[in-house]
Symmetry: C2
């Protein structure tokens, strides 16, 4: 397909956006768009400048025979903060309070346009670290893990609280379910995670921390390494026994069930800037 | 932010790719990039040509005061077919066969690069139809529903097989679980779906069809309309009582547990071309 430069800008941008964290040889583009490698190289220069000026992400060129171009999605600090502030407002809506002081989150975590933005913010908070997989627990963490994994272009693994025949052999660990003070089990399919993987744990809402601790112990069962923990929201009012650091996008500082009021602030992910 | 045309191509493409199915006023771009609306209009013309030539999608311009530009992602028929054929090969791998004749799918359905492509194919198969939400059942359907909903830029709703306190009030229906011949219950949070929504049902693997039938009856409980049903794979060997049409990306035609052999073909979604 032969295209003009301005059209090549469009298709190369699209390719990079859809293939983040992947080294792409310039020859791929040169052959695809029937153009000299030197022109493609100039194209990439323009894409790089535009992506960086608009805060879309970094474009890195690696020279040499095995070289190419690598796109790392990002988000500007201002945009990240303004997205989090918008979500604070959404989370403070009084009709989100459920009996028992729980907060209804499912609508936010099932809106792709929100998930994409949150995925970019969380991925940026761990930029520069090697991440091979994202881990979460079924069901509510799945869309969030999916969003982060999509930006990082790595697979995600889903830990389950029940045994399913379609998962094959599983490894299980016990964990203390904070809300019920009970010991429960969680399961992960044996073939879902390779040994020595560097894993980012992601979850929707952090209360007691039992689920996160469970996932951390699963990581050692799989001989994997914890890169970090990120949650969509945590609850400041709850004391927890969590022996790992975590980053939260939002922090619920107060739930007043009687007056139907939720106070939400931006989370510790923004401490010291994203 | 003042940019040159070639740079504007890049940022406008990025914006459209990240905001599909959404009417965007040309003024948004004109203000953002400090450029005359007429230049933006020319830019859009170039983006449109490049997107359509490369099979990325359609760009439609709506004239008038409330007008703007609308991007509909797509995928070429050849690319769709070649992706499905690649997945047939993956699904035929002998080590996917689990005891009981089940097939391990979780790795494919938790790889974002695969999910994105599958999302585009399924979305295209229902193009031209009004879809307000995508529905699936927890847990394995979630990433697929997420992927399709992301392309369509609509929310997805997750039906659960258990009751969770964090979902608030729920509506439940009974369904016949084909694999066990039992009647079970499925639940959907009352606030997750607005009446009169047009809903696309998506699931990972179609066996007896009980889960799909359950979701169809949930739709009528919510006064919603079924647009269609799409599954990642179905099993040709199983007789089913499903009174709605469905489209499958892949079809498992034979599982030979003894010789560890799975035969997989491209699904009925490709009948008559995508």
């Amino acid at each position: 397909m032969k295209l003009r430069r301005s059209e090549r800008m469009v298709v190369i941008s699209n390719y990079l956006i859809n293939n983040p964290y992947q080294l792409i040889s310039l020859n791929t583009f040169a052959e695809k768009y029937e153009t000299a490698k030197s022109s493609i190289s100039e194209d990439i220069g323009i894409v790089k400048k535009a992506f960086e000026e608009a805060g879309i992400g970094q474009v890195e060129t690696v020279t040499g025979a095995s070289g190419g171009v690598l796109f790392t999605p990002s988000i500007s600090s201002e945009e990240a903060k303004s997205i989090a502030e918008g979500l604070c407002q959404r989370l403070s809506e009084s009709d989100r309070i459920l009996p028992g002081g729980y907060i209804y989150l499912s609508d936010l975590l099932s809106t792709p346009s929100i998930l994409k933005k949150v995925g970019r913010i969380i991925a940026k908070a761990f930029s520069g670290q090697q991440i091979d997989a994202v881990m979460t627990v079924a069901t509510k963490g799945v869309p969030l893990a999916n969003a982060v994994a999509e930006i990082l272009n790595v697979p995600f693994v889903i830990v389950r609280r029940d045994l399913k025949i379609t998962e094959g052999s599983t490894v299980s660990v016990n964990y203390a379910s904070g809300s019920s003070d009970r010991i429960e089990k969680m399961f992960l399919s044996k073939r879902s995670l390779k040994p020595n993987s560097n894993v980012l744990i992601v979850d929707d809402f952090l209360k007691g921390g039992g689920t996160i601790s469970g996932m951390v112990s699963l990581l050692s069962e799989f001989d994997c390494h914890l890169v970090g923990v990120a949650v969509f929201a945590d609850n400041k009012q709850i004391k927890r026994n969590l022996f790992v650091d975590y980053k939260s996008l939002l922090t619920v500082s107060k739930i007043d069930v009687k007056n139907k009021k939720v106070d939400v602030e931006i989370g510790n992910l923004f401490d010291g800037g994203v």
